[in-house]
């Protein structure tokens, strides 16, 4: 009999799709491996998307529950990572919708253009241009991401935070590859424009 510890080590060598098939066949250890593999990545993506780690953990928990509930229906057609990131992005967008509704600042029709908080936390006047500390810079970058309209934010986060390939981002967001590229470029430009007043040339 194979010791449980060894079994887990072997499982960790398997690809996502094989693990998901084992999970569908009733292996809790296989699901545990998927959780280990994706929890950090998902919390990072969702957390940067909504700029709220605590809420991101709730959302990621829901992502795993949905994967678990649908394990029997999983079909090995596409990549598992595309599937799980699609669920995560959709739930994160729902969270933004809820926030927008609570704020009552913008209609749902305008969601695609919905940006994050409308008031910057830092002084954006020309006089505020100064060298920022590393921690401050991180906060500013996080805020800049949060202020992006959703359509740019999701593309930038998947590319620059998670490091997904352009093709996989296109699959997750169900948009053409060319659109992914232009949205990422546009999103980065917006972040650059947001950060520029705060930073001297040397500080970035």
């Amino acid at each position: 009999m194979v010791p449980a510890r060894l079994k887990l080590i072997e499982l960790r060598r398997e690809c996502d799709e094989e693990l998901m098939e084992r999970c569908a066949a009733g292996s809790h250890e296989a699901f545990q491996c998927l959780v280990e593999r994706y929890r950090g990545r998902l919390i990072n993506v969702v957390g940067r998307f909504i700029n709220d780690r605590d809420r991101a953990e709730d959302i990621v928990q829901e992502v795993f529950l949905r994967v678990y509930r649908n394990r029997q229906r999983y079909e090995r057609k596409g990549k598992f990572s595309t599937w799980i990131f699609t669920i995560a992005v959709n739930l994160a967008k729902n969270e933004i919708r809820r926030k927008v509704r609570r704020r009552g600042e913008i209609s749902l029709e305008g969601l695609e253009e919905a940006a994050g908080p409308t008031t910057a936390t830092a002084d954006k006047s020309p006089g505020a241009e100064e060298n920022l500390g590393r921690e401050q810079l991180r906060e500013m970058v996080a805020e800049a991401i949060e202020r992006l309209p959703v359509r740019y934010r999701e593309a930038v986060v998947l590319r620059d935070i998670e490091g997904l390939a352009y093709e996989e981002i296109a699959s997750v967001l169900r948009i053409p590859g060319g659109t992914v590229r232009s949205r990422i470029n546009r999103g980065r430009l917006m972040i650059k424009d947001f950060l520029t007043p705060f930073l001297s040339r040397e500080s970035l």
Binding site: F31, V35, R39, G40, I43, N44, G47, R48, R53, D54, A56, E57, V60, Q61, F64, L65, Y68, R69, L137, R138, V141, A142, I145, V156, D160, I161, R181, S182, I184, N185, R188, L189, I191, K192, L195, T196, L199, R201, L204
Partner: protein, 208 residues
């Protein structure tokens, strides 16, 4: 290459995914355009700042909370079918009630206000409701006090509304209320321009 086109290429350039022709053109543009050259430098720094963001790590309690949620999920899955049915019924009850209420209200309103087309039988229920709230011409005239005109629709010609002075709208009609509308039953003298319904009654709708 103009500045707009150059800006579109910044991401591909920084990620070394630009084709050779575009690279040559962009680099040629950058040598002659200080604004784009500085913009690209800031863009590269921005990309670096994005890369330098530390990952958001799961909190120490994340695994335990997920394990609890999965255990609850397993418990739900192991429940007998009738218990699940009960849970679903409880979840769907408010929605089912709302749908039933909308149906009931729609059905009721349709009976009250739908005009009867020429040649159709008038709905007995609507006639009964109309008859249950008779209003004399005088009372109706009083309710219209201060109004210069009312909107009048011939009974069986839907959509052809017209403004009519209160006096002429009232002339020679009996008045009945049906919900927010008033049915005017025409007298002999006023019938010539008003269509009949299947029972031979000349009528008009007047809305407030």
């Amino acid at each position: 290459m103009n500045c707009e086109r150059a800006t579109e290429l910044w991401s591909s350039y920084c990620e070394n995914e630009i084709d050779a022709g575009d690279r040559l053109e962009l680099e040629g543009h950058l040598t002659g355009c200080r604004v784009c050259a500085e913009g690209l430098a800031a863009f590269q720094k921005t990309m670096q700042a994005l890369k330098d963001l530390p990952p958001m790590e799961p909190s120490p309690s994340f695994d335990a909370r997920l394990a609890r949620a999965l255990a609850e999920e397993n418990l739900r899955e192991s429940e007998p079918w009738h218990a699940k049915l009960g849970v679903w019924c409880a979840r769907l009850a408010p929605a089912a009630g709302a749908v039933a209420a909308v149906f009931a209200i729609s059905f009721y309103l349709a009976l009250q206000v739908a005009p009867v087309r020429e040649g159709e039988q008038a709905s007995p229920m609507r006639s009964e409701i109309a008859a249950s709230a008779p209003l004399s011409s005088d009372e109706y005239a009083a309710s219209l006090a201060g109004r210069a005109s009312v909107r009048v629709e011939p009974w069986s010609v839907a959509g052809q509304w017209s403004e009519a002075p209160v006096d002429s709208a009232m002339s020679g009609y009996r008045v009945r209320f049906v919900l927010d509308k008033v049915i005017l039953e025409g007298e002999e003298a006023a019938r010539s321009s008003v269509p009949q319904d299947s029972e031979g009654v000349h009528m008009k709708y007047v809305t407030f």
